[in-house]
Amino acid sequence: MTYLLVLIAAIVVNNFVLTYFVGICPFIGVSKKLDSALSMGIAVTFVMTLTSIVTWLITHFILIKLNMPYLEYVAYIVVIASLVQFVEMFIKKTLPSLYKALGIFLPLITTNCAILFVALLQAMRSYGFLESIVFGFGAGVGFTLAIVIMAGIREQLELSDIPRPFQGAAVTLVTAGVLALAFMGFSGLLSA
């Protein structure tokens, strides 16, 4: 039950993009087309889950044992950078077409703050091992959900008659804001 709660909380109630406002860069940058948004979401989910596992291990078996938890930021960055490199190699070998579709945004997952946030938050909330895996996975699914919804809306926006001052970035940011408002509706889900 705890795992289910952690999962739902990470996906909708505390959606990383629309409630914590982290990972906005790819959320705006890769949400123009539905299929590339989906593959970006999947790549981020993969990296987040892996990061969650590895950072939990590092925190609990190295940093806490050696009494140096202040190193967590530096250590997490190293972990994330290496994992993204690994994912890049993996995708390049196994799915070359996806590798081309993601382009520059694949290495840029490194600088996606949502991933560092996953690592920091699970350390802060002192989740157990399984919980932190579920949490990382849920956060990734939440990111995917947000970016896919956004891409769907933006594909519709392409065809709508938008007043000139609102075209382009303006209407995208307004959309993101309205989407965030809508997601606030989930906040009553867990307390009830």
């Binding site: 590092i58 190295i62 050696l66 140096m68 202040y70 190193l71 530096v74 250590a75 190293v78 972990v79 290496s82 490199q85 690994f86 190699m89 993996f90 390049k92 070998k93 070359p96 081309k100 065809l159 008659d161």
Partner: protein, 293 residues
């Protein structure tokens, strides 16, 4: 002491991950043919799709891996073909390919064609055609909303003030983007030196066509008769309610259109800079001919 310990720890973690990455790199190594990246460097990089591949890198890969022809790049033309051939170590034929350009088969501009009202939907030709709500009455003619203009990666096609696209022969690379963009298939690729064509695609019976557009083919067959008289009957043929100039070998002469009542059998329409490009081509052919000698 703490600082040293922290630095040592971070160094160890970093080392562990770099070893992991090195192992991963050898496990997941992707072998790339060096010729492919070299070909890609020498392609124009505009990803127009004129070669039939989705992007320049896809074409480079096709040449390197599947042995696709080296002279498919229409944008780079002659020079690029030679460079690619040199990289692949093959010969290109010395014969210069005739440059193709896009030709717009409609002259029904705002002066010639009937406009019953304004179209106010999505400013896109395909949308206008699918919604059946087009300002121009001819159901074969140019909608004039410029989807071809938007599709052109080379800024080579523009709308005239009267609403018909015209092609800049100098900039046009015959990539075919506008051909695909036109919902009424009014754009075709033809060799630049053959500009005597029937600039209409209307299949309406003559009476209706004449009512709708001053420059429509009304299927009177005068050009066909003139061609038959010249013992060149194959060069222009009636296809339904439309006279069509037969491509390959494009033997139709401009004179056959002298008596065309609607001026749709015509020469050099909807194109600018054609003469300039022809002159350049001629000069280049002469230069290469003298080199060959």
């Amino acid at each position: 002491m703490t600082i040293v310990l922290a630095a040592a720890l971070m160094g160890l973690i970093g080392l562990a991950f770099s070893i992991f990455l090195v192992i991963a790199n050898t496990r997941f190594a992707v072998e790339v043919d060096p010729r492919i990246s070299k070909i890609e460097e020498n392609l124009p990089g505009v990803n127009c799709g004129g070669c039939g591949y989705p992007s320049c890198s896809a074409y480079a890969e096709a040449v390197g891996k599947e042995g696709a022809p080296v002279d498919l790049c229409v944008v780079g033309g002659e020079d690029t073909s030679r460079t690619v051939a040199r990289i692949m170590g093959v010969q290109v034929s010395d014969e210069l390919k005739e440059k193709l350009i896009a030709v717009v088969f409609c002259q029904g501009d705002s002066e010639a064609s009937a406009f019953p009202g304004d179209y106010e939907g999505i400013p896109d030709c395909a949308a206008a055609v699918y919604s059946q709500d087009v300002a121009k009455r001819c159901k074969y003619g140019c909608v004039g909303l410029g989807s071809c203009v938007k599709a052109c990666p080379f800024d080579a096609i523009h709308l005239s003030p009267t609403g018909i696209p015209f092609v800049d022969a100098e900039k046009c690379t015959a990539c075919g983007k506008c051909v695909a963009a036109c919902p009424r298939d009014l754009i075709e690729l033809h060799p630049i030196s053959h500009d005597t064509l029937v600039y209409c695609k209307s299949q309406d019976p003559g009476v209706i066509a004449r009512k709708i557009c001053k420059k429509a083919c009304i299927a009177c067959g005068i050009c066909v008769k003139a061609a038959e008289k010249d013992e060149n009957g194959d060069s222009v043929r009636m296809k339904g309610n439309l006279a069509v100039v037969t491509p390959e070998p494009y033997s139709a002469k401009p004179e056959y259109g002298e008596k065309c009542p609607t001026d749709c059998y015509a020469t050099d329409r909807n194109v600018v800079n054609r003469r300039k490009v022809l002159d350049q081509q001629k000069a280049r052919n002469e230069a290469s001919a003298s080199v060959a000698r």
